[in-house]
Symmetry: C2
Subunit: 322 residues, 2 copies
């Protein structure tokens, strides 16, 4: 297909699987002796690619989750005395807790939401969790938390799949938030509400991080520049130079070193009790959500570009006379 | 209590129940011969108070829902060919479909998200719904929808409560979105995702409507002015003067006419097939989401005022010598 269409450059943006694909395409092309430049571009809200400081997309979803739990926290605090006492926001992250961790940025003092963050990296301990919820409700009047969709029990099973059945008898309607909510209601008796942001969080361009937008453009540009210089099977990266002020530059990693490596939250980014983020984590995350970059609005709604996605003419059969 | 603290003015903002309370306080005070001015101030995202053109809070949640379904729609459209084909966003509104209706504003053409809106005012017809989903997936490649939490079956039961059980055997984990999602999966086999925005939608000050913010301040101010003029048992209202350009002024309604009246979506605001909004509805809703009014941001997060909520000294016992 590349030959038929005379394609010499292959850019592919995405997370771990996409980088693996870029790497494979590059390897296959070399084996077949076809000259093509393959560049992977990091782009995943999961923020789980290795080597790069962070992944474009993450800073914005981080800003969304931190903003949302702060806002919902004020809502719950205002009525906790007579109504909802526990609020659970489910964040994405099947294997790594980066997005849930970002929720922790909203708490400037221990009394602020979120009072608890649950990570996939820390096995869920029901008893200690319930004690923590109880303590927050007693101390602050309410408990707001961010739960990662990838939360697992000590035996490695997703909590979201732990026996929930819908009206049709299917396992898992989906959602760890309702499972945690039911647990809190069952064991502590508190009135609860829960939210599952799902795609809303990763498509929320209206609350994008300026830092994130700048890095996304910079890496796209760097990808083209690296390609024109003939670099193959590489991925542009973000290299952090300093925290305060946040300084960074574009670097380069071999796709061979990126493919199939999943960067989880380091243990020292998670507080000793497993229910929050450390100062070190905060220092890492803070610059990534900085700055606002609002889209244009028309009639009260954000205006986004619609791609035409016009297919090119098929050439494969004709080129090879098949 | 009012007498002990020498309180002569009682302001109470909220929805239907709160207006009813204001009205009752006013009636009781008159009966007891205690001179107090009671003013209700409309404030409910449900937008279901009568007489007033709309209710402060609604314009902003409307903007949030329309923005969110537009953004998530782009996400789903981008990958529908090989992944998620059906997306369901659950919106608040236990009895009235105003918030779900606002989601309809995101669709400028029939191919745009949302392709379906489900209202509490229209009994859920499973067969016709599934045919509509199927048609959208075939025609546009995907189907994005907004579902009101108050959606009911033909027999008047909430769809969210239609038999869903959690791991502990409780009825209803909550959420109509996962129930609809499971139905789509079961009957049509499409891969789905769903989101329940819950409190996120009504606390999302970061995406507030400027029109809404202006009206909220105007009604608060009017409440004080009306009180100082001695009006009792009334509620300031928004009176719509024209649609394009949107012009409005502050009016006044008797609490007796407001209490216990629930304004649902008029039938002619809902399309003939029951799955969308009409031009008339669009004309009503459009001005309410207009304009942006961003909060101040610090370190990447919106900054909100924290009230001190310092209690006054208790006086009741001393005042009455009890």
């Amino acid at each position: 297909m590349f030959e038929a269409h005379n394609i010499g450059y292959f850019f592919y943006n995405g997370g771990g699987d996409s980088q693996d694909t870029s790497h494979k395409v590059s390897q296959i092309a070399r084996r077949l002796g076809y000259p093509i430049v393959c560049i992977g571009i990091p782009k995943t809200v999961d923020n789980d690619l290795p080597i790069t400081d962070n992944c474009p997309g993450f800073g914005s979803v981080a800003k969304y989750i931190a903003t949302s739990i702060r806002e919902a926290g004020f809502d719950v605090a205002s009525m906790a005395k007579t109504s909802t006492k526990v609020f659970i926001l489910e964040a994405m992250g099947r294997h790594a807790g980066w997005i849930a961790a970002a929720g922790g940025l909203a708490a400037e003092t221990p009394s602020d939401a979120p009072h608890i963050v649950l990570f996939p990296e820390i096995p869920f301990d029901e008893e200690r969790f319930l004690a923590k919820v109880d303590a927050a409700v007693k101390r602050y009047g309410y408990c707001a938390m961010v739960v990662s969709e990838g939360l697992r029990n000590a035996d490695g099973k997703f909590v979201a799949e732990a026996g929930t059945r819908d009206a049709f008898g299917h396992a898992q309607l989906g959602g760890v938030a309702p499972v945690i909510a039911a647990l809190v209601k069952d064991k502590l008796g508190h009135k609860y509400h829960w939210a599952v942001a799902d795609y809303l969080q990763r498509s929320a361009r209206h609350i994008a991080s300026k830092t994130d937008v700048e890095q996304a453009y910079a890496l796209g540009k760097a990808a083209v520049q690296f390609a024109l210089k003939g670099h193959d099977a590489i991925m542009p990266t973000i290299v952090r130079l300093s925290n305060k002020p946040y300084k960074w530059k574009v670097g380069m990693a071999d796709l061979a070193d990126v493919a199939n490596v999943e960067k989880k939250m380091p243990r020292d980014f998670i507080s000793a009790d497993g229910f929050g983020i450390t100062r070190k984590c905060r220092t890492y995350l803070e610059p990534l959500i900085k700055g606002e970059d609002y889209p244009p609005f028309k009639n009260g709604l954000p205006q986004y570009v619609k791609l035409k996605n016009t297919p090119v003419k098929k050439k494969l059969r004709k080129h090879f006379n098949i």
